[in-house]
Amino acid sequence: MSDHRGTRPKGRESLVETVESAARLIAKARQPAIGGLGTDVDGVRAALALGLKIGAIVDHAATVYERVDLRVLSDSGVMVTTAAEARHRGDLIVLVGPGAVAWAGHASVFDNGGGLYPWRGPRGVLCIGTGGARPAHMAIDGDVAVLGDDLPLDRVIGLLRARLGGRPVAASPEGLDVTAIDAAALQMKAASFGVVVADAHDFDHVAYDSLMALVKALNAETRFTTLAVPAHHHGRGANLVSAWTTGGRLPVGMGRGYPEQDDWRFDLERAVGAGEIDALVWVGALGPELPEWAGKVPTVALIHHGAQECRADVVIEVGVPGITHAGVLTDAIRDGFAHVEPRAPQDLPSVAEVLSLLSAAIKDKAA
């Protein structure tokens, strides 16, 4: 990164010039990378197409979502539901970890009881390993049940799985009363449609895997499923687009002329730190901002209108899907793609437009 602030294009003519300087920066690179990827479906499609053309590593900023949530999906599989089903059908909402409590509080998924299924019983809430956090705006019938406030998540999940499976545990494991574990287990078994809510940020992949195994086991006797706290900055949408385009999730490296998936080799923060990356395209239409670890790598940043100062070598201001221009995004409320109209249209280029221009300005590596 240079000391001076990068140039921002003013108007469409200067956009072409700015894209040309960006293209020069990228064309020189031995191992370019495209990061951030906070953009809509067409932006991700364009990023993957550009990535293949220049042999880039491509990743989204929501690395925890990829390395925990999606990794456990491919390691062991998951049982999941939608926010609407959880709200209307769930008669026991199990918040596992503090992130689940925080999300349940602000995402308004559970702020009403849901009335579509009149036969549903009262909605109970069980907090597991939430460190004392309790949901603020949830519609709840009765008291919030609590288990293992001060225990690490992997430990309390392990104890619960043992008791659900009828296996003995120590008399008073880590100060926890066995009867408290059994009460929580019984409450879960007694639910007709239980929903475990969890935020991947509270887990490593082993603990998350264990939680998913617990949910699967509960289905031997009743119905239980999970609802994951959505990935930030459109991370789920980006990974889904990658799956149908490259065959798999992010990150991918395309240096060999085809996409390869590898969490370690293509971890951008690691690769930048190791000096393996010599040009970075940061896509932040929906955020996030250029991270500190981008360090000294020559960088082209696509930032959203009104973003903070950006210390990239080339800065291109782009529009925001759903704000300045239309676009397709996953909707966190129902976990589906939707076309969103702009709320305040402005004549700013989209990520897809800029990346296509950039691609056109870079000669084929083979050529």
């Binding site: 579509l116 149908w244 129902r334 589906g336 793609f337």
Partner: protein
């Protein structure tokens, strides 16, 4: 611009007998012949080759949330290892939409139908389909297990209201037809049930599976959907399921009905209670009911993944997952289950499934009513179609496969004694004319003047599998898309849809319902043209009048 396919053997039962003749293409359509004095711009020597219309697949899981779930669940089954050719980005990315388009086109397929379009997730299915190059697409809107519809049955709403709500779902999701999956079963699974039969009642709604199927059969006809109701029946994979097929045919009471992947229901019961072929019972049922069509869902060997909205079946099947992992999504209506599975050539049950599928083809009363599918990827991957065609066209080839299979297969099925061999004409009907007609796509599946110039040219090889695996030439809308079995570049196909009318009151009613259910209005579920930017994706097909 006029293109001439010169001197090939044209196999097109819709336009007439098989004979050596020229085929002419002008502006993306088949013409009978150029006007006198009109110049021919391009001539392709097709002497010694077999010419058919582009093939049409009526049921293949190629796009949507559950397909992408399978991609994420099983990275080890599709590790990329080779770059694509120039001009074909992502064409070798295994299980990608790009690879799907290339592989279908290279076999001479030009239209493929995704059979499970969930209305609440319609946008994703359409985004994925739009990224499948070369081929045209369509999708079947899944109805019958959602709370809105089941509440209509509970309230004993009239035929018009049900017709309108189903028409709304079809139009809003941009489907080409309607499908029901284990009618009521997934809804019952959400409520904790683990089996569901035709006369079982969905908890809390008071509607039986039979009532659901019947209401939808009527709605399909009332809306004028060209494709009959596409039915994934109850009891998939169960011993004794031929009785379910008989009962469902009876429930149809003469109305048009298409059974998806009927092989998975053709499991009879042996004296000792174990599985045996029920293909004869299925064939007899088909012969006796001309209103019924089906696709086979042939099983082929190898590792694959089962993708289904039949939650109950996927939950019970998860015990047999190989590798040992699976996903179950309790969706807003069905959701879906993804369970990897390996069909083993040494396992007698898997071999019997394979044999039963072939028996159904060979006992078929009518190639117009028994269509070729593997229920990709559930019974096997679509790239095994050429092997299946070879097996159907050659009794010797079947004998060769059977030789290495467990003896039980010969005891429990009649395949070994079947001598029928499919003709090119029957193959052309089963893989082209019949599926196109059944879908209401009257401009394809044949080579009559006016038809879309989707044409497949094959070398006439004794090895039918090799012949149908890589087409010598494939034309898409009159343009050469494949040459010598290799796709030449990305051209964009289109997605066929229906836009049925319904009473405007249904818009208001659905808007209220969606807001109650999701806190979001209809716009959040819509699939507008604008979502695809500059690309022109949709082609509206007519409803029946």
């Amino acid at each position: 611009m006029i293109t001439q396919l010169k001197g090939g053997t044209v196999v097109d039962p819709v336009s007439g007998e098989t004979r050596v003749r020229d085929v002419f293409i002008e502006d993306g359509r088949i013409i009978s012949s150029p006007a006198a004095g009109e110049a021919i711009d391009q001539v392709h020597d097709c002497r010694g080759k077999i010419i058919m219309a582009g093939a049409v697949d009526v049921h293949s899981h190629i796009a949507g949330g559950n397909v992408t779930m399978s991609r994420l669940l099983l990275p080890e089954l599709h590790v990329n290892e080779a770059p694509g050719d120039a001009g074909l980005p992502f064409s070798t990315s295994k299980w990608s939409g790009y690879e799907i388009g290339r592989l279908y086109a290279e076999m001479g397929y030009t239209t493929v139908i995704e059979p499970a379009l969930a209305p609440a997730q319609a946008m994703q299915t359409h985004l994925e389909m739009a990224d499948i190059p070369i081929i045209d697409r369509g999708a079947l809107t899944v109805v019958g297990n959602d709370d809105h519809f089941l509440s209509q049955l509970r309230a004993r709403e009239g035929r018009t209201a049900i017709r309108d709500s189903i028409a709304y779902a079809l139009k809003a999701s941009k489907g080409l037809g309607l499908k029901v999956i284990n009618a009521g079963g997934p809804a019952a699974f959400h409520s904790g049930l683990r089996t569901f039969d035709l006369d079982d009642t969905v908890p809390h709604y008071g509607a039986t599976s039979r009532q659901i199927v019947s209401a939808l059969l009527t709605a399909v006809d009332d809306i004028g959907v060209p494709h009959p109701l596409h039915v994934h029946a109850n009891n998939l994979g169960a011993i004794g399921a031929p009785d379910t097929i008989d009962a469902t045919i009876a429930a149809a009471e003469g109305r048009r009905l298409h059974f998806a992947h009927i092989q998975f229901y053709a499991y009879g019961k042996d004296a000792d209670g174990s599985m045996r072929s029920g293909a004869e019972q299925i064939a007899a049922a088909l012969a006796g009911a001309p209103n019924i069509t089906c696709d086979v869902g042939q099983v082929m060997f190898g590792s694959t993944v089962t993708i289904s909205l039949d939650l109950m079946k996927q939950w019970s099947g998860s015990k047999f997952a190989s590798p040992r992992k699976f996903s179950i999504t309790d969706g807003d209506a069905e959701g879906g289950g993804v369970v990897p599975f390996a069909y083993k050539a040494k396992n007698w049950v898997n071999c019997l499934q394979w044999a039963i599928g072939l028996e159904i083809f060979l006992l078929s009363p009518d190639p117009w009513r028994v269509l070729l599918t593997t229920d990709h990827p559930n019974g096997g991957v679509f790239t095994s179609y050429p092997d299946i065609i070879h097996l159907l066209m050659s009794a010797d080839e079947r004998a060769r496969w059977l030789e290495s299979m467990p003896e039980k297969v010969r005891e429990k099925s009649s395949l070994a004694s079947m001598t029928r061999e499919y003709s090119f004409e029957e193959i052309a009907i089963m893989t082209r004319a019949a599926p196109a007609r059944l879908l209401g796509l009257h401009d394809r599946g044949h080579l009559k003047p006016g038809a879309v110039a989707d044409v497949a040219v094959y070398d006439d090889l004794a090895d039918r599998a090799a012949m149908f695996r890589s087409a010598s030439l494939v034309f898409k809308d009159g343009r050469v898309a494949v040459k010598d079995g290799k796709a030449l570049g990305w051209i964009a196909g289109r997605t066929s849809i229906l836009t049925p009318d319904y009473d405007a009151q249904m818009d208001r009613r659905m808007s209220d319902y969606l807001n109650d259910r999701y806190g979001l209005g209809p716009a959040a579920f819509a699939v507008p043209e604008a979502a695809f930017g500059e690309r022109s994706i949709f082609k509206v097909e007519p409803c029946r009048t």
